[in-house]
Amino acid sequence: MAKPGKGTITVTINGSAAMGSEGMTLLELARQSGIEIPTLCHHEELSAIGSCRICVVEVEGARTLVASCHTPIAPGMVIQTHSEKVLAARRMITELLLASHPDSCLVCDKANRCQLRHVATDLEAAQPQVRGRKRCYPIEDVSPYIKRDLSKCVLCRRCVAACREMAGQNVLHMAYRGFNSKVVVDTDRPLDKEVCRDCDICVNVCPTGALSLVEESGSKKKGKPLFIKG
């Protein structure tokens, strides 16, 4: 734990005092204190995105639940990371994501490496209670390297940020709005080798089976079996 000093901030997290440095996010402090908060859009090597809201926590005095991945700590904050209210919100968000997600998990190559699945399992999310439309897109496999199955995309925007910040390219962007939102290439054309250098960076950050390597299909281990945390 950081030593008290200039720039040290003390907050209360789940009833115990925790110290962090200025500029730290609630999520960073929680992780440093050994508290696990689920995330989907957040990625340590990318700037904050804040689109999925899975990481919400309760901050005393705040009007709403706040996303811990991009909220900086402030002196005297009183934070609950696993209150009933927080868990209910996380579960609802997961169920909403699942409601528009294809039911192809059993045959999906991402299988047990899928972060959406991890989050849903950990939260013991139930069968979605809402009936929504599914977002259906044809699988895009024009590129010899990368396959895009955007029906599985949760619109976390990690790939967009990774392409810009890690790869230094600007191939992927968000387009359209609301239910029709989609990660596009240029004017919504297929990702092919003309526009993409095949650096794999977006594939590695994608939390779901939306992006995968072409060769991967069925050729890699599907990860460890999932265990539900008690």
Binding site: N170, Y176, V184
Partner: protein, 150 residues
């Protein structure tokens, strides 16, 4: 200064991102709609990625990316208007011009689309024809309003 030169100037000064919306609006007025070709050209001039320009253009329903008729009818489909029976207005307009939302009449006189809240909830149900807002609509008024637009 013509538009292309102006855009290139903005791009050179590195102000492409801040001027993007204004440029898209102007381009939409002069080209009628923002086709992929127009977007590629604007992006090159503004020195922005094509995807970024396309993303902004497709986010705003007032920046059409598809060709539109001479008059554009937009009926609000958000909840306050819905509660005030906007569906009847939608049906009445659809019947009067014989097309469905998303379509344009064969004579190019009207395009018809549904839009999210246009800020006229106090006058629900509301619609816009081109830049004019019509509120407190009843089916009986539709024919008269449409006749105003040739």
């Amino acid at each position: 200064m013509n538009m292309t030169a102006k855009i290139r100037e903005i791009g050179k000064q590195g102000r492409g991102r801040e001027e993007l919306l204004a440029v898209l609006r102007e381009a939409r007025e002069s080209y009628g709609c923002l086709t992929p070709e127009v977007i590629v050209e604007l992006a090159a001039g503004l020195d922005l990625p094509v995807g970024e320009v396309y993303g902004v253009a497709t986010f705003y329903s007032f920046l059409s990316t598809r060709p539109k008729g001479r008059n554009n009818i937009r009926i609000c489909k958000s909840i306050p208007c819905f509660l005030k029976d906007s569906q009847i207005i939608i049906d009445t307009v659809a019947e009067a011009i014989d097309i469905q939302p998303g379509e344009t009449t064969a004579d190019n006189r009207f395009s018809f689309e549904l839009t999210n809240c246009i800020g006229a909830c106090d006058k629900a149900p509301a619609m816009m024809v081109n830049h004019r807002v019509y509120g407190g609509l009843t089916p009986a008024e539709i024919a008269r309003i449409l006749a105003e637009h040739k």
